[in-house]
């Protein structure tokens, strides 16, 4: 992690446990903070990582201990890119109900994707539906 060449690349194979990925996420956030990313932007990236990884573990791998979640990242002072892949059957993001519509307001689930889309500059789902790629690009100030 001492290289000054960007992007820095980080990857990790995470077990399918909802308690086992927070240290990795914190490592990424700490590094972005060192790269001078602002606290309010890091809040959104934290949310996107939390929701995408927990979705992969919970809905993708169904917490199967024989399956893993792959996370690949690229970090630089103005751009953060991450790909999260699970070993599940995939899903169609278009079929996720709109959590903001009045009829779905009281549904306990289905908010992660909405939050990811809000906080990240771009979000793409693979054709198989088991990988999500997200990017945050800082505007020039």
């Amino acid at each position: 992690m001492s290289s000054n060449e960007f992007p820095e690349k980080l990857s990790c194979m995470l077990p399918s446990s909802l308690s086992a990925y927070h240290d990795f996420v914190q490592t990424l956030l700490d590094r972005l903070q060192e790269l001078k990313w602002k606290k309010e932007i890091l809040f959104g990236i934290h949310m996107a990582l939390e929701e995408s990884i927990s979705n992969a573990i919970r809905h993708g791998n169904k917490e199967d201990s024989n399956k893993s979640v792959s996370v690949k990242c690229e970090l630089s002072p103005k751009r953060f890119w991450v790909e999260v892949c699970d070993e599940g059957d995939g899903y169609n993001p278009e079929e996720v109900p709109d959590c903001t519509s009045p009829e779905n307001l009281e549904r306990p689930g289905g908010r992660g994707l909405e939050l990811i889309r809000y906080y990240m500059t771009s979000v793409q789902h693979s054709e198989c539906g088991c990988c999500v790629t997200m990017e945050k690009i800082l505007d020039d100030e």
């Binding site: 307001l105 689930g109 908010r111 909405e114």
Partner: protein
């Protein structure tokens, strides 16, 4: 784990003021415990006026939001009034993005919340 409290409850006149003891509400086991402690307030203890003070909360996941939504339903079913307060701008934005600012009654401060109960 099982004995660690997730909330602290103080009674102010007829109102129960709840403060969260975790700064980050993301761990599934903690969220489960938090949910149970909240549910007990209305289902076992029959509290009718509740303020959830978010002053100490720095981050929460959508799973935590889900638990709050279930709590809101249980409170409504029990004819309990629920007001949220002291939500940081970042957390309030999470409520706004997901339209939950329309589901919950939210006030800036605990005093503002107490004033409408």
């Amino acid at each position: 784990m099982g004995n660690q409290r997730r909330i602290e409850v103080n009674d102010s006149a007829s109102v129960s003021v709840v403060r969260f003891l975790d700064q980050k509400i993301i761990d599934p086991e903690s969220i489960q415990e938090l949910g149970q402690e909240l549910f007990d307030l209305v289902e076992r203890e029959d509290r009718k006026k509740i303020v959830l003070n978010f002053g100490s909360v720095e981050f929460l996941s959508s799973a935590a939001l889900g638990k709050l939504i279930t709590f809101e339903k249980k409170a409504k079913r029990n004819d309990s009034q629920l007001v949220l307060s002291n939500i940081s701008p970042e957390i309030f934005q999470v409520f706004a993005i997901t339209n939950l600012d329309k589901l919950f009654t939210i006030k800036d401060t605990e005093a503002d919340a107490l004033a409408i109960l």
